[in-house]
């Protein structure tokens, strides 16, 4: 099996195909601290792409309640258990975090889903360790999560005080998910028809419907379970990253690349999507003033989801700062402590870049900060806070300015009716 370089794992790993990298890569950052699971992203995707017959159970974008929710149910617990079974007590990280772009979280010393497959599976067609979720697991995207049900015997009404829910002295958070458009896609590796391909211009992973014969190898292989089978067409389907928008063919922007539907619909302003430059070795090329590059490689607040699976996913998350670290380290790797520290005490530049989230539907390629005076100094929850009136300017693909944000103290204009009142 060929060897490829995985910068998230800080080492080389086995992958069924030779490395091929796009010039730019579709990537995104979700700030979990902000997500309220309003499901606007979910419904934006559903109403755009998966509203047809046979797609009833398809949620290319979904938001699940962690730790107990999941779609399909228990997807991450199941694949983690399979990896643990294949490599007992060996799924650990070691080494020191590198300063550069290769191995920023240390070195993963365990087995990826590709490596574990070689040890545990015998069939030639089984290149990836995975499993096929049952029909029941696909049935309900949010079953038994956090919505209070109504009183017994009262129809079509939610419980007004949530008393039907037990109150636990514990924690949870919302995990919004779409296809990660991985650099080493497990779905692509597993497909016996070679129906799945990664576009050279933007790294979007697509599934050729004309080539697919519905063997469901991709459904089985994708550790994030973002490839889904459609019974009435007997083919599998997956997130297409709203590629007409990313290509800039949507008339709204006049040729400028535009963020996907799920990103644009996010009312919580948790999402930013972009196209990052890729280096020859598959890592991100240095692009200091690209907002996603800054969040992942400079501020180091955004981390990949389950990097230990080995697919080098391109979805990154700012982890929720209240959740116990052991759980987060399993989900996002050992970079969690630094990410939360940096997010809880944000630098001046990070505060500025966070202002770029959801200000425009257009994809930001570069930002610039014009520094302004300090406007506040104090403490918040025991941590020092300094605020500056910096102006952040976002630029699009052609280098044209998209928008700028700045900060002002609010001005209250008294109405004529109360002009003299104090």
């Amino acid at each position: 099996m060929p060897t490829v370089k995985n910068w998230q794992l800080g080492r080389n790993m086995d992958y069924p195909y030779d490395a091929r990298y796009p010039s730019r890569q579709f990537a995104f950052v979700f700030n979990i601290n902000r997500c309220i699971a309003c499901q606007s992203c979910t419904m934006a995707c559903k109403s755009t792409w998966t509203f047809s017959k046979g797609q009833e159970h398809m949620w290319w974008a979904n938001v699940e309640t962690k730790p107990y929710g999941g779609y399909p149910q228990w997807w991450d617990a199941k694949i983690l258990a399979k990896l643990e079974e294949a490599n007992p007590d060996g799924q650990v990280w070691g080494g020191k975090p590198a300063d550069g772009r290769f191995g920023p979280y240390g070195t993963f010393e365990g087995q990826t889903i590709f490596e574990a497959a070689q040890r545990t599976l015998t069939s030639d067609s089984a290149r990836v360790l995975g499993y096929l979720p049952t029909d029941e697991e696909w049935n309900s995207p949010n079953i038994y999560e956090d919505n209070p049900v109504g009183k017994r015997g009262v129809r079509n009404k939610l419980d007004e005080t949530g008393e039907q829910l037990p109150v636990h002295n514990t924690w949870f958070f919302y995990l919004a998910r779409i296809c990660n458009h991985c650099s080493y896609p497990a779905c692509l590796a597993a497909c016996p028809r070679k129906a799945i391909y990664k576009r050279p211009e933007d790294g979007i992973v697509l599934l050729d419907q004309a080539e697919c014969r519905g063997y469901r190898k991709c459904v089985e292989a994708c550790p994030y379970k973002k490839s889904m089978y459609r019974g009435n067409t007997r083919t599998s389907e997956k997130c297409i990253a709203c590629y007409p928008r990313v290509e800039g063919t949507d008339p709204e922007t006049g040729g400028e690349p535009m963020e996907t539907r799920c990103m644009a619909a996010c009312i919580g302003q948790i999402r930013m999507q972009g196209l990052v430059q890729v280096a020859e070795d598959g890592s991100w090329a240095e692009d200091r003033y690209h907002p996603l590059y800054f969040l992942v490689h400079v501020a180091k607040v955004a981390l990949p989801l389950y990097p230990q699976f080995g697919t080098q996913p391109n979805g990154y998350y700012i982890p929720p700062r209240w959740v116990p670290r052991a759980y987060l380290r399993q989900m996002f790797g050992p970079g969690v402590d630094r990410a939360i520290e940096n997010y809880a005490s944000p630098s001046r530049e990070l505060l500025a870049v966070l202002q770029l989230f959801r200000r425009s539907n257009r994809i930001i390629y570069k930002y610039e900060i014009q520094e302004g005076p300090k406007i506040y100094e104090g403490s918040l929850h025991g941590r020092k806070v300094e605020l500056y009136n910096d102006t952040v300017i976002a630029f699009g693909k052609t280098g044209r300015e998209i928008f700028r944000t700045t900060i002002e103290e609010p001005i209250h204009v008294r109405s004529n009716a109360h002009a003299n009142s104090i």
Partner: protein, 109 residues
């Protein structure tokens, strides 16, 4: 078997899992929500209303565990920092020569 009794073999049956959690985690969760919503421009009254609302389970859970006074104190601290400024977003004109776009004035972040 009565209708409401759980069936042990039902794959859809809710499985309880015990997870670590203490007051410090709840307090941090409450502080995180207060910070984020204050940055989104919510006022003190709006944020407190959100904590009282049972449908916002995470915030409501913290409110029930910590109490109104403690949550109000956390919210006051967050609004005291993030609520004092307004974020101004100015879109660029789509093409040269077009009229200046509207300035969208939003509360911070």
């Amino acid at each position: 078997m009565p209708y409401d009794d759980p069936e042990p073999e039902d794959p859809q049956e809710l499985v309880g899992v015990e997870l670590p959690g203490d007051e410090a985690v709840t307090r941090e969760m409450a502080a995180a929500f207060a910070d984020e919503f204050a940055q989104l421009g919510f006022t003190r009254a709006q944020i407190l209303a959100l904590y009282r609302e049972a449908e916002y389970s995470g915030a409501h859970q913290a409110w029930r565990l910590l109490g109104e006074d403690e949550v109000a104190r956390i919210v006051d601290e967050s609004v005291g920092v993030w609520g004092r400024f307004t974020c101004i977003v100015t879109d660029s004109p789509d093409r040269d020569g077009e009229p200046e776009p509207l300035r969208f004035i939003r509360r911070r972040s």
